[in-house]
């Protein structure tokens, strides 16, 4: 057993709008091969495997059936977390701390281009009796949350557009990002309205990809070339019905961040954290999550660098795999491997995740170089 747990290997495939040359199995095999090589382990060195996936994203019921082969995990302890990517990381951390495993792989992949009706899938997440029969494009849930958030926080629609411009620009320098672009705030404001006040360019575009992380306890991590330590983790769910929720606020993210900060012993996150990869599935969510994670005390600009990777707006959105992609990007920052997007003195980083509409589930992960 080990109290200290590190991420010792990351493997990603470049995010792409389409990926017809590879099956999900082949894509995941590529990511796993990279992660194991990065960690300096073989598939036989991994004690336990965690996949993160949901049936309707795959078009397969009991989709966890199809996990083991491409991870080299046949006849090994494999479980699936039907949840957020960071819930998968938390599961791996708990497996290691319990003493039942020393090295754990966490996997997620998304073939979003294979889902022909995203709206139908998202709609299936709404309460079937009270909410779904309205038959509306499900983005409306985010739009209503956005309106209430702008109303309560006083942040402007222009500030939301700035998020899009900045994240797409940073993605130009991220080799695995699918949506790097030079845009202006006027481009964003002029994009088609989806559901007021939400505009088309404020919604992260879908992408395909696979990501694998390798986690290890202290002894096993000592042998790894470049461990990045998990200093704190939190994950929280609030109930998903639209009726009793806290519209306009990301209480799940605030609670998850508090849990992670407690574990990491951070009292002033805005000063102690150098950069953050926060969920930006919808551009306004970036601000909401910055507020929830207390990165912008007083409600102004964030004091830490947010989404140097380009975020989901710039990299592409891949459902529950998004949080693991962002974790992989945070690991690269702390290792100093982020190229032109490298944040100076990136010794402590934060990841904030969200499961998308209609959920109120998110996670927080504090990573550090020691």
């Amino acid at each position: 057993m080990s109290d200290r747990v590190a991420i010792v290997g990351v493997g990603t495939t470049p995010l792409r709008t389409l990926s017809p040359d590879q099956s999900y199995r082949e894509m995941t095999f590529a990511a796993a091969s990279r992660a194991y090589a990065d960690a300096g382990v073989s598939h036989r060195d991994v004690d336990s495997f965690v996949s993160v996936c949901e049936d309707f994203h795959e078009g397969t019921s009991i989709t966890d059936e199809y996990v083991p082969d491409q991870l080299g995990a046949v006849l090994r302890p494999v479980q699936t977390i039907a949840g957020d990517g960071l819930a998968g990381v938390a599961t791996a951390l708990m497996l290691i701390r319990s003493g039942i495993a020393a090295v754990v792989a966490v996997e997620a992949h998304a073939k979003t281009s294979n889902i022909l009706r995203h709206d139908q899938v998202l709609e299936m997440g709404l309460d079937p009796v009270y909410e779904r029969p309205l038959r509306l494009n499900p983005h409306y849930v985010a739009a209503m949350d956005m309106r209430r958030y702008l109303h309560d926080s006083g942040r402007s629609e222009a500030a939301v557009a700035d998020v899009v411009v900045e994240n797409r620009r940073r993605a130009l320098h991220n080799p695995i990002a699918a949506y790097g672009a030079v845009l202006t705030p006027a481009d964003v404001m002029a994009s088609a309205p989806i559901s007021d006040p939400l505009r088309e360019l404020e919604v992260s575009p879908y992408a395909d990809g696979a990501v694998v992380l390798v986690l290890a306890g202290e002894d096993a991590a000592a042998a790894a070339p470049r461990p990045v330590w998990i200093r704190g983790i939190g994950w929280i769910s609030e109930s998903s019905p639209l009726a009793m929720r806290d519209w306009g606020a990301a209480a799940y993210a605030a609670l998850a961040a508090d849990m992670a900060y407690r574990m990491a012993d951070l009292s002033d996150p805005a000063r102690e954290i150098a950069f953050a990869e926060v969920d930006d599935t919808y551009a306004y969510k970036q601000w909401q999550h910055i507020d929830a994670a207390r990165l912008a005390p007083g409600g102004g600009a964030s004091r830490v660098v947010v989404n140097p990777s380009g975020g989901s707006l710039g990299m592409g959105y891949c459902y529950d795999a998004s949080a693991l992609y962002r974790t992989a990007e945070a690991v690269r920052q702390i290792r100093g491997e982020a190229g032109r997007n490298q944040v100076p003195d990136a010794t402590t980083g934060l990841v904030i995740s969200w499961r998308g509409i209609p959920t109120q589930t998110g996670g927080a992960l504090v990573l550090g170089d020691h």
Binding site: S19, P20, D21, Q22, S23, Y24, R25, E26, M27, F29, A32, S33, Y36, S42, H43, F56, G59, P68, D69, Q70, G72, V74, K111, S113, N114, I115, L116, R117, Q120, V121, E123, M124, P128, V129, R132, P133
Partner: protein, 187 residues
């Protein structure tokens, strides 16, 4: 046990036991029920290995792959050996004959409607692969409808041969093989 009969049993779970079972009639007519019929549509990328497998089927051929490390020859093809975790890219054309590993005689459809003629699903070990390697398909060309009649014709270990669709009807699908039929060959 008659439905709804209260049973007094001295065993756990003790205390208030809740959950009200509805009769079919109540469910369909008496209680509030909301219907939903989603359009859950997908276009799954076949990828390299299964893509080539489907190409082969369209061509009337069954392909497998061989692992350079462990030497196993398997089908359906895959781009990696799941045991050795190495790329598996040595392609092998297999024969379209095989052996019945196991079979069943199924009298219902996937949504539990009765079938007039039973389906005979089977795992077929394809000739030329490593032992006990095959895939799911159907057996056909067998007269009779009863379990007895069909079991008189089919047994585990029996040699079979693929019965293909006409070339022009093939689309690159597992159903390009209509079924496997007894080949009459003795092993």
């Amino acid at each position: 046990m008659a439905r709804g009969t209260p049973r007094v049993i001295d065993a756990p779970p003790r205390g208030l036991l809740r959950g009200r079972g509805l009769r079919d009639e109540e469910f369909r007519r008496k209680v509030s029920v909301t219907p939903w019929a989603p359009a859950l549509e997908y276009g799954w990328d076949a990828g390299l290995a299964i893509g080539r497998f489907l190409d082969g089927l369209q061509d009337g051929r069954i392909f497998g792959v061989r692992c350079r490390q462990c030497g196993r020859i398997v089908t359906p093809p895959r781009a990696f050996c799941e045991l050795d975790f190495k790329p598996m890219d040595e392609w092998v054309e297999l024969s379209d004959t095989g052996t019945v590993n196991t079979f069943s005689i199924c009298y219902v459809t996937w949504d539990m409607k009765p079938l007039k003629r039973p389906q005979i699903p089977a795992v077929i070990e394809i000739d030329g692969t490593s032992p006990r390697v095959g895939f799911l398909h159907l057996l056909g060309g067998v007269p009779g409808r009863t379990v007895e009649a069909i079991r008189a014709e089919i047994s585990v270990g029996m040699p079979v041969r693929a019965v293909w669709k006409k070339p022009r009807d093939r689309t690159g699908a597992i159903t390009d093989i209509l079924h496997f039929a007894p080949s009459g060959r003795r092993r």
